[in-house]
């Protein structure tokens, strides 16, 4: 436990009790997220970040999946005998909340089977509601044979035509699921061996088809029924064996996916739930990253300028600037030299040259001299400590600037313990690197940089990776703000908060190494 506590929150696969194997698709019901695993193993969360044990449903078994259609939650769950003889059973409830009067699991019956002889193992169901037709489908299967597809009745959750022959879609995989995106059906399935801890070879692969019935070809054109599959995610970052993909569509263009890791080294090799952003590139899903602590340039996709604390910047290494027209040759000088009104914030940083006419830091003139000759020695990074004497002590505004590696343009993103979170990550504070000056939302939907971080909700930020790999940045505080307000580059020099619109790049930000 002590080891777990020492791990930065943002490096974990979620928070709280996240032990699960073969998780179902995460399902939202009345303010809570629910997920079910093999042997029951339910987890519940109020925010998608911190999880706790939930209530075991009436039927348990292997690798359930849950889908919400109309006023019902259909759960599909495998009943095993001696593999590969198995059944996929259906139970349903009108609520997932045990405290709701609508919470009652009802038995539906068998929707798919394998007789132990055929090339099928009817386990690992994945339900898919086709958004283009409203038809409900179920994929299922494991390594004993094919991944198969059958159609269900979306009103009852049961097999639409029990006599219809299942359609074979893939082999050499299990834990399949299907999603639809922009004219394509994607079959996601887990390759490799399960249930072996850090020796697990689990990894999630995929193919796509124009038809729900296939064929599903991977990016190389290999049919999944011949073992094809392009990798979505494999082991890494102290976690082994991702499996059991489930789409978590948060709406407004933000998609994530759930899965388990067969072994999380930070949790003693236990099998745990995780949530990752789902990105799209060239028509294929890509596994995104949850935000990581660090120092970043926060760069607007819309304007090409970067978030800054609104103070007068100090040129890195001291100023060297081109003189105005007719004012002589290009040379080295203090910024604003010869200009009226002073040059607040223009003192040299880190001992860099702030004047002179092309003198080497250590001695004689360098070849060529002038602005193009540099200082003759490396220039250190600009730190807040080297320039903050020029900054006002209290709250300041936020601005956007051409990125010039200046201290007020670098932001430290740090997870805040015990401040809650959202699917996949905790809330973060965003402070000017090397300081406690914290980016905050204001009640009127604008931005301010507070003199210090106090932990109030308007200083806590949610960072969701969007489908193009950029980030949506939203304040936790919604008091007096419209829902869905996100950091927005409304102007090249001015950030604000405005309602998130996935189709606009105003609220798309890049977190770049400063």
């Amino acid at each position: 436990m002590a080891t777990m506590l020492a791990i930065p929150a943002c490096a974990r696969a979620l928070n709280g009790d996240v032990g699960i194997h073969d998780p179902s698709t995460i399902t939202y019901d009345d303010g809570k997220y629910y997920v079910y695993g093999t042997g029951g193993g339910p987890l519940v969360s109020d925010d998608g970040w911190t999880w706790r044990r939930g209530t075991v449903p009436s039927r348990t078994g292997a690798a359930p999946d849950v889908i919400h259609i109309g006023d019902k939650y259909f759960m599909y769950i495998a009943r095993g005998y001696q593999q590969p003889k198995a059944d996929v059973m259906m139970i349903w409830s009108k609520s997932l909340d045990p405290n709701s009067p609508d919470y009652k699991w009802n038995d539906g019956g068998v929707v798919a089977s394998s007789d132990g002889e055929e090339d099928s193992n009817a386990i690992d169901p994945g339900a898919f509601l086709d958004p283009t037709t409203g038809r409900l489908w179920l994929v299922y299967g494991s390594y004993f044979g094919y991944i198969r597809l059958v159609e269900l009745d979306p009103k009852t959750g049961m097999r639409k035509d029990p006599k219809s022959k299942p359609i074979n879609l893939a082999i050499n995989c299990e834990a399949s699921d299907m999603i639809y995106h922009d004219g394509w059906y994607y079959l996601l399935a887990t390759h490799g061996s399960c249930c072996a801890g850090t020796s697990s070879g689990y990894n999630i692969r995929m193919g796509r088809s124009r038809h729900v019935t296939g064929p599903f070809l991977d990016a190389e054109g290999v049919d999944m029924i011949q073992g094809g599959g392009t990798e979505l995610i494999g082991s890494g970052q102290r976690k082994v064996g991702p499996g059991h993909f489930g789409l978590l569509d948060l709406g407004n263009g933000v998609q994530k996916f759930s899965m388990h890791w067969e072994a999380d080294l930070d949790r003693g090799g236990a099998s745990v739930l995780d949530i990752r952003p789902l990105l799209w590139k060239d028509g294929w899903p890509v596994a995104g990253e949850n935000p990581k602590e660090g120092t970043y340039e926060i760069h607007s996709v819309h304007t090409g300028t970067s978030l800054a604390m609104a103070v007068e910047g100090s040129p890195v290494g001291g100023g060297r600037m081109r003189q105005g027209p007719g004012l002589g040759p290009i040379g080295v000088g203090r910024p604003g030299a010869g200009q009226a009104g002073g040059t607040r914030g223009a003192r040299p940083a880190n001992g860099g040259s702030s004047g002179g006419g092309g003198q080497r830091a250590g001695g004689g003139p360098r070849p060529g001299g002038g602005i193009f000759g540099g200082t003759g020695s490396p220039i250190a990074d600009q730190t807040a400590a080297s320039v903050d004497a020029n900054w006002p002590a209290g709250d300041t505004g936020a601005s956007m600037e051409n990125y010039q590696l200046q201290a007020q343009q670098k932001w430290q993103i740090t997870a805040v313990p015990d401040a809650g979170g959202y699917p996949g990550a905790p809330y973060f504070k965003i402070t000017v690197a090397g300081t406690d000056r914290a980016l905050a939302a204001t009640a009127d939907g604008e931005l301010v940089v507070r003199a210090s971080f106090t932990g109030t909700p308007e200083q806590l930020w949610r960072l969701d990776q969007l489908s193009d790999g950029s980030w949506r940045i939203m304040p936790k505080s919604q008091a007096n703000l419209k829902d869905g307000m996100a950091l927005s580059a409304i102007g090249a020099s001015f950030p604000t908060l405005s309602k998130f619109n996935a189709k606009s790049d105003m609220q798309h930000w890049l977190l770049k190494t400063p």
């Binding site: 009226a340 002073g342 090249a492």
Partner: protein, 227 residues
Amino acid sequence: MTKILRMSLRATILLPLLLLANPVSAATSYGTTLTSPVTPSRVTGADGFIPRWLLLEPIPVNGLTESAVQAMVKKQWFPDQFTVIPKDGQTEAVDDSTLTWHAVDTRLYNVNLYHFAHSLKKPTSNVLFWAVTIVNSPREMKDVRLAIGSNAASVWWLNGEEVVGIYNDRQTVIDDGVSRRLTLKKGPNVVRAAVVNGGGATDFCARFLDENDKPIAGLTITLSRPH
């Protein structure tokens, strides 16, 4: 000119096209993009840019940094510099010079101050331009923003309140500087700007954005308050 001003409203709307087609015009030209107004008002189009301004001939200054420009605009250059709605041809005594206000219409989205100053044989580098216009709103509009771009630094006021400032050497980018959410009053609203150029080209553009960040069309632009 008098005859033109008595033309019907329909003819007035067509006037800019007639002026473009007929080089013999009573309007004064300031370079190729600016002319003196020949209509009582103009209306912002779909792109929202404000096409009519009063410009004061340039004042020699130096400095583009925030501190330099802020000090510059706080200096009183002429009486009532934050409240005056000058008339075309009105003069101001600035230091040892007499500078004249000029009413201009721009044919483009931006106001080319280089054309303006150069055509008057005035300096274009290391100068401060003052600009004023009146935006007449048909109704109160909340949560709008003044969105500007300028070459180079500029400071902007709406109804006497400073609402935007952008600094240092820069080119005009549409919606470079954007104000916080503002309210446009029903009726006249005074927009005032100070644009500071270091060297080379100099211009600005300005428009209002609505609560959805879309340009506001249909605002009537005049250079005097209604009587």
